[in-house]
């Protein structure tokens, strides 16, 4: 046993000695790899129902959304309630682009990366636009402004019409109009379905890799320092403004990427989907997974997306359960009066107490010899 532990530690040290990847991240990547293989195997064995297959890309979207929101909420420590707005921007700009160039760029392998760049960058630009006025704001004000921005994006999208409809001639010679483009509150219609699970999964891995590396970098330490004590961080020479805006832009960029996936998966969607409730749903994922834990966000995104599909008959209770979960998690995690309960519930403490018991038994078996 001890031998294995040594080998494991040696391997880990070698990999992590470069300073780029931490041990925690390796577990995250291993988990992602296991999930990927599990999905592919169960798909080839025909274990996945149609419902579950249709969930694959949305789950990837939500993972990206949750991981990117975690950067703002978990690591920067600012509550943003407009994440669905960035998702909407990514989805709309990229699908409109894809529809417009559908006939000129026929290869998906050229079109989709371009769509990704356009969706991500335009969401990032909006992140910058939001980041600028909210610089002076903190806490509740920031939350409400991001909420307002989300609502503005939704409202503006309901008022825009970009008609890219085409007239095609069917084989019988009759002319047929294919409705494409953005039609105000009726939403976006008939975007090319370019998202696949493999592409979505690759994007998840890239997102997780970039964000966990950022968190481990100088930048990541700066934003966690700002979260823990803003004034002290500022006194240490951290440029608060710059880091805050940068976080907003990065978070928005990845939400935009998720939007591109979302748009090219559903192909038809209404602006009213991207409302306040959706932002809250992403927040629930982040909070449930643990603020500041990327792996937690991934697990929570999968659980909270797949579970409701499996428990469809209880769908009425889903949002109620979410709300109770939110309140209880916050009370148990943060209430000063419940510190004792927290210690009891902690897995780490439970592990330590079991370990202690085992050690004690061992010493007893060894006839009371003192054992290191």
């Amino acid at each position: 046993m001890a031998k294995f532990k040594n080998i494991y530690n040696n391997c880990m040290n070698k990999i992590t000695s470069s300073g780029v990847v931490t041990r925690k991240d390796l577990w995250t990547y291993a988990m992602l790899a296991v999930i990927f293989v599990a999905v592919l195997v169960s798909d080839s064995l025909g274990l996945l129902t149609r419902q579950l297959t249709s969930l694959l890309v949305p789950v990837c979207c939500y993972i990206i959304l949750a991981v990117s929101l975690n950067l703002t909420v978990g690591f920067l420590g600012e509550l943003a309630l407009g994440h669905a707005g960035f998702l909407a921007i990514g989805a709309y700009t990229s699908t409109l682009f894809s529809i417009a160039v559908q006939d000129t760029i026929t290869s998906v392998w050229v079109r989709f990366p371009l769509a990704l760049i356009i969706g991500g960058v335009s969401a990032g630009i909006f992140g910058l636009i939001i980041g600028l006025p909210v610089l002076r704001l903190r806490g509740d004000y920031l939350a409400i402004v991001t909420l307002a921005f989300g609502e503005i994006i939704k409202t503006v999208a309901t008022n825009i019409t970009v008609d890219l409809s085409k007239t095609t001639t069917t084989s019988s010679g009759a002319e047929k109009v294919v409705e494409q483009g953005l039609f105000g509150s009726a939403g976006l219609k008939n975007a090319p379905q370019d998202s696949t699970f493999i592409v979505a999964f690759i994007l998840v891995v890239i997102t997780v890799a970039i964000i966990s590396n950022l968190v481990n970098s100088k930048y990541g330490r700066a934003i966690t320092a700002m979260r823990d004590n803003r004034i002290a961080a500022e006194a240490c020479g951290i440029n608060i403004t710059y880091h805050k805006i940068l976080t907003f832009v990065i978070s928005a960029f990845f939400a935009g990427i998720a939007g591109v996936l979302y748009g090219h998966n559903y192909t038809i969607f209404k602006p009213s989907t991207f409302d306040y409730n959706m932002s809250i749903e992403i927040l629930v994922i982040v909070v449930l997974g643990g603020m500041g834990s990327i792996r937690g966000s991934i697990i929570a995104a999968i659980v909270l997306r797949v579970l409701p599909e499996l428990l469809r008959e209880f769908s009425d209770y889903r949002m109620l359960a979410y709300s109770i979960l939110l309140i209880l998690l916050m009370l148990i995690n943060s209430a000063p009066g419940l510190a004792g309960l927290r210690a009891k519930l902690s897995i780490k403490n439970a592990y330590l107490s079991i370990k202690n018991k085992v050690m004690k038994r061992k010493t007893a078996e060894n006839g009371g010899e003192t054992h290191e």
């Binding site: 006025p133 409400i144 307002a148 916050m330 943060s334 000063p336």
Partner: protein, 299 residues
Amino acid sequence: MTFLATLVNGLSLGSIYALIALGYTMVYGIAKMLNFAHGDIIMIGAFSIFTCITSLKLPAILAILIAIVLCTILGITIEFLAYRPLRKAPPLAVLITAIGVSYFLQNIVLLINKLSNKTTFVFPTNILPDISLKIGSGDNAIIINGNTIFTFIVTAVIMVALTLFINKTKMGKAMRAVSEDKETAELMGISANRTITVTFAIGSALAAVAGLFYGGTVISFNHTLGSMPGIKAFVAAVFGGIGSIPGAMLGGIILGIIEKMAEQYISTSLANAVVFGMLILVLTFKPTGLLGKKINEKV
């Protein structure tokens, strides 16, 4: 004449916002937290009035009183169960809890509604005496309906009463003291917890009254009735400077007028974007709001 009519409509809507904003601003001033569930208490108020009148066939005045009592108890309970344990917790935790409470209230009402197989309801319009005021004559006349008149009168009375309460009574003095400096106030023998409970009670009672008027304005409603006016009232509170009671009144009325003007002269569907745009502008150039005080952060 459309301008004058829009102005009256805006004033009426603004008075409702002001009522809700008062609840926000008082709670924010004293407990230093954003009570996201405040909007949903409006919804509960509107629902209890609706249920009392249409199902239980109670007289209007009794229905309103029941709604006020129910909302007050609800507000106190929420504060006790969800917010009090988090009094010393980080603001982010309190904010997320408040969002959870807001969702809880909405979904519990949604579930109850699903049992009766209905999701949209029609607010009874015959609660308030049917009076209307006609200004001007001929084509230029504008008619102000009963709901609007009562909204004005009741809001004005409540505002005067609240201002007197805050400035003249012992409890009001205690509230100001706690909002100024909680620790020192407690050293002076003021129970901060009791003061916060009273604040929640007053805020929730005002929300019930706002529920009556808002329900009468939108007529058709469901479990999300409170979320939009809730958010907008918060915008109003921020607009006037959060924590300031005259600020909430002023902010509410200005916001109501802006919203109705935008609906009339820009576009109905873009009105919300204009309102939220105003919030961002105000916060960008005057983060403390119109009548707010600048608070220096202590290390």
